[in-house]
């Protein structure tokens, strides 16, 4: 319990709804003090202040009943007696998790249906030889590269940007109607590495090799370079389980 003078920079709001209690204190201030755990001798003795706090506590109790009821289903309570609105809260505690799962599944389905109509695939990247007209979208190519990085135990991959080497944007130069494209790309991958990594440069090099290999063999990208940026060190106790093979 702290005891202090009313905070000087939080004057009670002067508004029509406020009320000066018979003891002289403003209702808003009494409630603010209660909320902040501030009390004094007057507050503890004054019947008006105590009644004001009791009102608020009663409200808190009702809120808690609503909230806890919605959370754990108020086991044993007669839900039908509650109120007209049915739905969440009437089910028992055991079904809260399954209701959450239902909501998650339903909403994920609805949201992703819409998301897939407006994908942001990124830029097209050249695949194969200079003369070929094969392309892969950046966001599609990024996925297996991130996965390759995460084959190194404890590593988590974040941003993965792939760009034509030596150019700022997508290749758009055309000659006689055909795109003349640089086939080489550079990869810039951000990773989170385990805090316990003894040799960070070596880990980064391992990741780089994994990514390079996946880009070369799996995707067929002509990779000029892979930049690995360690953007965070994470304390992950279960880091070992992430390493598949190798």
């Amino acid at each position: 319990m702290t005891t202090r003078i009313h905070p000087p920079d939080a004057p009670p709001p002067h508004e029509p709804d406020d009320e000066r209690l018979p003891c002289g204190r403003l209702l808003s201030q009494v409630w603010t003090d209660w909320e902040e755990g501030v009390t004094d001798a007057h507050r503890q003795r004054c019947p008006h202040c105590r009644a004001a706090v009791a009102d608020l506590e009663q409200l808190e109790t009702a809120v808690r009943a609503l909230r806890d009821g919605a959370a754990d289903g108020a086991a044993g309570a007669d839900a039908a007696d509650g109120a007209a609105a049915g739905g969440p809260g009437e089910a028992g505690a055991g079904s809260t998790a399954s209701r959450d799962a239902d909501i998650a599944a339903r909403l994920t389905g609805r949201v992703m249906d819409l998301v897939r109509r407006e994908l942001r695939p990124g830029r097209p990247l050249p695949l194969g030889e200079a003369g070929e007209d094969l392309w892969i979208m950046e966001s599609v190519a990024a996925r297996p590269l991130r996965a390759a990085a995460e084959e190194v135990p404890g590593v988590r991959a974040g941003s993965c940007r792939i760009a034509p080497a030596g150019t700022a944007g997508p290749a758009q130069v055309t000659v006689a109607g055909r795109p003349v494209r640089p086939t080489r790309v550079t990869v810039r991958l951000e990773i989170h590495a385990p805090l316990a990594t003894p040799d960070l440069p070596r880990l980064a090099e391992r990741v780089r090799r994994h990514v390079q290999a996946a880009a070369d063999r799996h995707l067929g990208l002509d990779v000029a370079g892979v930049d690995i940026l360690v953007t965070d060190l994470i304390d992950e106790p279960d880091s070992g389980e992430k390493g598949h093979g190798r």
């Binding site: 809120v63 609503l66 998301v115 990024a142 940007r161």
Partner: protein
């Protein structure tokens, strides 16, 4: 532009005394009253939110799907508290996710992803409430009886009646009052957080919460 990708809390703007700034964990205030909502923290296995958000920002819709699945239940609970039961709560959360997908490339991780989403949902719910006709009775969220284990039998009926009254009285609040009050009293958010979320001053939030409490305690008092 290799900015610091570590998510930080929302920008500190003039936090008042006693106002805990919500960090990535959406902390509860030190107040004796509101308890923090048991919204599931991000403890599920798999990459953390920040990484998934970066991937989704770069167009990885599978990463986004993981985020939706992870946050949908908590956000629907929030929306239900704000706009009541019924399809509106889920619809609002759905729209918030779509909006998040569209604006993710501009999301720079100034706040945690969950805080960012929380804000989007809150503001959309606020708009839903504003669009309602005044005095239209609102269905409160999860209208249920009081848990029996916390109170003596004699107080159960009392608590139930109070819940029922509260339920009804919520309909008498303005959109802003209801939103500020729900965030404060049900979700245990700090005044600073609410002010930033709703886009008004802390003073204005305090005034709205006060008016809401005034209205609600009066309603409970009428029954008592």
């Amino acid at each position: 532009m290799a900015g610091d990708p570590t998510p930080t809390g929302p920008p500190d703007e003039a936090a008042g005394p006693g106002d805990a700034l919500p960090g990535a964990t959406a902390g509860a205030p030190p107040a004796p009253g509101p308890a923090p909502d048991p919204t599931p923290a991000v403890a599920s296995p798999g990459p953390d939110d920040a990484l998934l958000a970066v991937r989704a920002a770069e167009g990885d819709e599978e990463a986004f799907a993981v985020l939706v699945r992870r946050h949908a239940p908590g956000l629907v609970r929030l929306a239900t508290r704000l706009v009541g039961n019924g399809p509106e709560a889920e619809d609002t959360v759905q729209e918030a996710f779509i909006s998040a997908w569209r604006t993710l490339p501009e999301f720079r991780g100034h706040a945690s992803f969950s805080t960012w989403l929380y804000r989007i949902v809150t503001n959309r719910c606020l708009n839903v409430l504003r669009a309602r006709k005044p005095q239209e009775p609102l269905e409160a969220a999860g209208a249920v009886a009081a848990p029996e284990h916390t109170v003596s039998p004699g107080r159960i009926a009392e608590a139930r009646a109070a819940v029922s009254e509260l339920h009804e009285a919520l309909g008498g609040l303005s959109a802003e009052q209801r939103t500020c009050w729900v965030l404060r009293e049900w979700d245990g958010q700090s005044y600073a957080f609410i002010a930033e979320t709703v886009g008004i001053s802390q003073q204005a939030v305090r005034a709205r919460v006060f008016r809401a409490r005034r209205h609600l305690t009066n309603a409970l008092g009428a029954w008592r």
